[in-house]
């Protein structure tokens, strides 16, 4: 059984591209369309890594990140935050919330794939 | 101006002029006649009645207190 990776984003076209990318890299892909769904999936499926969009309906990526870090069972989940907002304050907030890495959209697919590999190594 | 509200200056001057007219020739002569009012002589009664009327008017003007505070 491959490594589980959760893609949490509310933009369907981005989910399409990320799924394709992760599958090509050989991971098992899970998808969540909003923050709440993302958190549920993390707790239920225990993915090794989450590609977490910062701006999602119902629960933002930052909130999800904090909730994960506060939950003993899933605390070790690797989190890579993706955001379309490029402000320094957003990056700081993401890292402050406990994300392991932070990538701004649009991203290079090769770089992203390398980052994910590193984080799962 | 300070000193509190009081009766308006114009009202007082008008009252005084009216008083002067009522208490003097020729208006006073109107009451100077024989006969009686309610068994009393007309002239003293008129004098005291006008007097009381002026006091009442002044009291009203003063106590109503709605006038301006005229300094002059």
């Amino acid at each position: 059984m491959g490594t589980k990776v959760l893609i949490a984003d509310d933009e369907p076209n981005i989910v399409v591209s990320l799924s394709f990318l992760m599958k090509r890299e050989g991971y098992d892909v899970l998808v969540a369309r909003d923050g709440v769904e993302a958190l549920e999936t993390i707790r239920a499926e225990r993915p090794r890594l989450v590609l977490l969009d910062a701006m999602m309906p119902r629960l933002t990526g930052f909130d999800v990140c904090e909730a994960v870090r506060a939950d003993e069972n899933v605390r070790d989940t690797r989190i890579l935050m993706l955001t379309a907002k490029g402000r320094d304050s957003d990056i700081a907030r993401g890292l402050g919330a406990g994300a392991d890495a932070y990538v701004t959209k649009p991203f290079s697919t090769r770089d992203l794939a390398a980052r994910v590999r590193d984080m799962l190594a | 101006m300070t000193g509190g509200r009081g009766p308006g200056a114009r009202v007082l001057v008008a009252l005084c002029a009216a008083g002067f007219a009522l208490f003097n020739f020729p208006l006073l002569v109107v009451w100077d006649r024989p006969g009686t009012i309610l068994g009393l002589p007309p002239l003293p009664v008129a004098l005291f009645a006008i007097w009381a009327g002026l006091i009442a008017a002044l009291a009203l003007a003063s106590e109503r207190g709605g006038g301006r505070d005229d300094g002059e």
């Binding site: 907002k85 402000r87 | 509190g4 020739f25 002044l58």
Partner: protein
């Protein structure tokens, strides 16, 4: 008859009671709980106007002259109508400048002239001493009636009860009238005793009146009825006396005279002006006092006529009816009460009058003389307060003894009987200088001098001398034939003026010449600087409100001022002046600088003790003053008013500064929030741009990396890329569009628009979209609507936005969108209603904000989140409004209203063009 011992006991017992009342009131005043600080007591104290001349004399005059006793009380009624205007101004001036007597008042007004003060004092003494004598005579007469004793004149002076009464009153006046030196600190004890006496005399007189009217007769009607049977008595109730017709000139003269006297008699000035606790009390006292006069006069005619109707009484005895009627008709207790009432009238007048006159004599005759002699002139010396008090006490005894002497000499003479009106005429001479002085800025010292001297001389010649002649003291020849046989100069027919009674004649000449000289001389020569400055201070006293200018320039030494003040008002009060002033300026007392304001303050306080004229001399003696010219006075006044104007302007400025600060703060907050909004907007735009770019880049890279990708996969990716590119384009266009509209640079091509046709076009434009979504579009349009003046392309944009929005949110297959158009009161209203999920209440307020899209990204139809904000701004631009009606579950209804005559709207430039277009 009542035993002399009883009468004496009652007299001195009553005087003792007065002492106790006065002492109590003084104690209360010292505790700060004033007994006299109310309008009622204030008005009662004015009752000192009614002396023995009223209490006994009115009945006497009524018995011989009928209603002619009345004008003396009608005048005060008329004066009181103006009290709030005139008296209040006098009180304010006296309070502000520490004026303590009528002589001081007039002298201060005309440049603090010592000579003028002395002249006024002289006139007062000459006019008032006989009046005091009249009161003393009444004491003797009353005692005589009560005890049946021999005429007082027959007794040797050392056994004369009248002398002892006079001395007792002197003691009273000294005890309660000269406690403090600073007269501006009123005499509460004396005023309380006077008010009490006014109440007693009114009560006693009313009691006697009631006794005569209802005890001896059967009411008013009975008295009149019986009087009509006697022709002489019937005549008393008519204006005509002595068959000469109504002497209306004399009636008028008496009214005017008493009107002036009630303000100008020294005792009236004392109780009304000097002893006034609070000028607001004038308002009520002004009508209570005439009421008092009315009450005390209401029984005068009944007593006079009743007394004459009773057997054994002639009009010669009428002056003592008040005593003799109860005494002769079995009511000795009432007679004793009436006697005490009479004593009240007498003692009240004597005490207040002597205190008032002695103040003038001390401050305006004795003090200047001593200053001139150099007795007090040394700038540094011992505490003079005791000396001053002694002078004043001596003056009280002196004035009373002068009155007593006059009484002993004049006795029953005519000069005493008629003195009431003669005194009135003397003090009436003050009227032009005093009343003119507080209302007419141009009145000068020369005018006041000329008027007073001429008026007093004419009064002496036409009224006083004839009264002396009628008493037989001087030859009466000159009355009939004129001095040296010159008929034109006959005192009672001066320059051949006949047809007037002697009082009216005298008043005509003395007041007439007085006024003429006052006005004439005032206008003839310009006033000195000091006169001009005092005139300004007096006339404009109400305008200054405590910030009056100080007309003094020069140099002073603090030590000199302190020493001077200490000498005249004692170390405690003097120290207080300097300490208070230092506290006001907020400097330590040691660093106090003797500026003009301090000098002025010291001078005013000393004036309270020794009078303004003497105070002026004293201050001048210890300072080095620069003489002021009239120009200087005007300059100081100018500075003062400039200062006031500056203060005013400063106040205005600080107020507007506050407003400006508040506005700036508000603007800053708005800017901050605008900045924040802009920041948010940029962040949102960035987000919206990056999101499609992300898909495009990622998918492109994936395809680039994998040339072997399946065609189907590749096709899907390319489709997404194309649609995301379209999204980008749309976004860029709309952001630019919105920015232009918001910046006011939007392009508007206005034309006449048929909104109905426009909606139909828009509906055709979205028909394909609705078909795709399986939704139904229903149009509910009237046959025609009036044309609008607007940009048709923009309105089409709005319609398309609303319709496509609605199409996005209707449920699949069963969607239904309804468009209505209606004309409502000068507006066209368009609504677009869908049957979608509606907008939750929480989001309703924000649907018109930028980048707020309904639903979530996955399920919602593609959109930029800028359509509604742009639509709303377009509608706003044409002066309309756009709003949302929505109930959750009932669908949403977006509507807008456009005025048919779009007069105004945001974006002024375009409106200007539109305005031009319309013309």
């Amino acid at each position: 008859m009542i035993p002399p011992a009883v009468v004496l006991a009652a007299s001195f017992g009553y005087l003792l009671l007065l002492f106790l009342i006065a002492a109590h009131a003084d104690r209360r005043a010292a505790q700060g709980r004033s007994l006299i600080d109310n309008p009622g007591v204030y008005a009662l104290s004015w009752g000192v106007y009614c002396t023995a001349w009223t209490y006994f004399g009115s009945v006497g005059r009524a018995a011989s002259g009928g209603v002619w006793f009345l004008p003396i009380y009608l005048g005060p009624m008329l004066a009181m109508l103006l009290a709030w205007i005139v008296l209040r101004k006098m009180v304010r001036i006296a309070r502000t400048y520490r004026v303590t007597s009528i002589a001081d008042f007039i002298a201060s007004r005309y440049g603090k002239s010592p000579a003028l003060a002395a002249l006024v004092t002289l006139i007062t003494v000459v006019g008032i001493v006989p009046y005091i004598a009249l009161q003393l005579k009444a004491v003797a007469a009353g005692y005589q009636v009560m005890t049946g004793a021999e005429a007082a004149g027959a007794a040797a002076w050392w056994t004369d009860k009248t002398l002892f009464v006079a001395l007792t009153l002197a003691a009273f006046a000294i005890a309660f009238g000269t406690r403090h030196l600073d007269l501006a600190e009123r005499h509460e004890g004396m005023v309380a005793a006077i008010a009490f006496e006014s109440a007693v005399k009114l009560g006693a007189f009313l009691a006697v009146g009631a006794f005569v009217t209802w005890g001896l007769f059967d009411g008013f009607g009975d008295i009149w009825h019986r009087a009509r049977a006697v022709p002489e008595l019937g005549a008393l109730l008519r204006l005509d006396r002595g068959g000469g017709g109504f002497g209306h000139a004399q009636w008028f003269a008496l009214t005017l005279l008493s009107m002036l006297s009630v303000l100008l008699l020294p005792r009236q000035f004392q109780v009304m002006v000097v002893e006034c606790v609070d000028e607001r009390h004038i308002r009520r006292a002004a009508w209570l006092f005439p009421l008092y006069l009315l009450l005390i006069n209401i029984f005068v005619l009944p007593i006079a006529i009743g007394g004459l109707l009773l057997p054994g009484n002639g009009s010669a005895d009428a002056e003592t009816f008040v005593l003799s009627l109860p005494l002769g008709h079995g009511a000795p207790a009432l007679a004793l009460l009436a006697y005490v009432g009479g004593l009240s009238a007498i003692t009240g007048m004597l005490v207040v009058e002597t205190v008032a006159v002695s103040t003038m004599v001390c401050n305006d005759l004795v003090m200047p003389a001593l200053l001139r002699l150099g007795v007090l002139g040394a700038p540094r010396g011992s505490d003079l307060t005791r000396v001053l008090l002694s002078i004043r006490r001596g003056a009280i005894v002196g004035v009373l003894m002068l009155g007593y002497l006059y009484y002993r000499v004049a006795g029953e003479a005519y000069a005493l009987v008629s003195i009431g009106l003669i005194s009135f005429a003397a003090v009436a001479q003050f009227a032009p200088a005093l009343l003119g002085g507080i209302y007419w800025r141009d009145g000068t010292r020369a005018g006041a001098f000329g008027g007073l001297i001429a008026g007093f001389a004419l009064w002496t010649y036409t009224l006083m001398l004839p009264s002396l002649a009628k008493s037989g003291w001087i030859g009466g020849d000159f009355l009939a034939r004129g001095p040296f046989g010159i008929a034109l100069l006959a005192p009672e027919r001066l320059f051949g003026l006949t047809g007037l009674d002697n009082l009216t004649h005298s008043l005509f000449w003395s007041l007439g010449v007085n006024v003429a000289l006052y006005v004439g001389l005032s206008l003839a020569r310009a006033p000195s600087a000091r006169e001009a400055s005092q005139a300004l201070l007096f006339v404009d006293v109400f305008r200054r409100g405590g910030a009056e200018p100080v007309f003094w320039r020069g140099r002073a030494r603090l030590d000199d001022l302190r020493a001077l003040a200490t000498r005249f008002i004692g170390p405690e009060r003097a120290g207080a002046i300097f300490a208070d002033y230092a506290a006001e300026l907020g400097v330590p007392p040691a660093e106090l600088r003797p500026d003009a304001r301090l000098v002025d303050r010291v001078e005013r306080r000393i004036a309270g003790a020794v009078g303004t004229a003497s105070a002026r001399v004293m201050v001048a003696s210890v300072t080095r003053e620069e003489p002021l010219s009239v120009e200087d006075v005007l300059e100081i006044l100018d500075q003062a008013s400039q200062l006031r104007a500056y203060a005013h302007a400063l106040e205005e400025k600080s107020r507007s500064l506050e407003t400006a600060t508040a506005e700036l703060r508000a603007a800053n907050e708005q800017l901050l929030s605008l900045d924040h909004l802009k920041d948010d907007f940029m962040s949102s735009v960035t987000h919206e741009l990056r999101t499609p770019l992300t898909s495009i880049r990622a998918l492109s890279e994936l395809m680039l990396d994998d040339p072997e990708m399946e065609a189907e996969q590749r096709g899907e990716f390319l489709g997404i890329i194309v649609s995301e590119s379209e999204r980008l384009t749309r976004l860029v266009n709309q952001v630019l569009d919105l920015a232009k509209i918001e910046a006011g640079h939007g392009e508007w091509h206005n034309a006449s628009v048929d909104l109905r046709a426009l909606i139909l076009d828009a509906a055709r434009g979205v028909a394909e979209l609705f078909r795709e979504r399986g939704a139904e579009l229903v149009l509910d349009l009237p046959a025609s609507v009036p044309p609008l003046w607007a940009d048709p392309d923009r309105l089409t944009q709005v319609m398309l936005n609303l319709l496509s929005n609605a199409a996005k949110f209707v449920p699949a297959e069963k969607g239904r969108v309804e468009v209505t158009l209606a004309e409502e009161g000068g507006n066209l209203v368009v609504s677009v209603r869908d049957n979608g999920p509606g907008v939750p209440p929480a989001e309703r307020a924000s649907v018109f904000e930028k980048f707020r899209q309904g639903g979530d990204a996955a399920s919602r139809p593609p959109g930029t989140g800028l359509g509604l904000p742009i639509s709303r701004r377009i509608v706003d631009h044409f002066g309309g409004t756009m709003w949302l009606d929505s109930e959750p579950g009932q669908g949403a209804c977006f509507a807008f209203r456009l005025p048919l005559a779009p007069a105004t709207g945001p974006g002024g430039k375009e409106n200007g063009h539109e305005g031009a277009d319309r013309r």
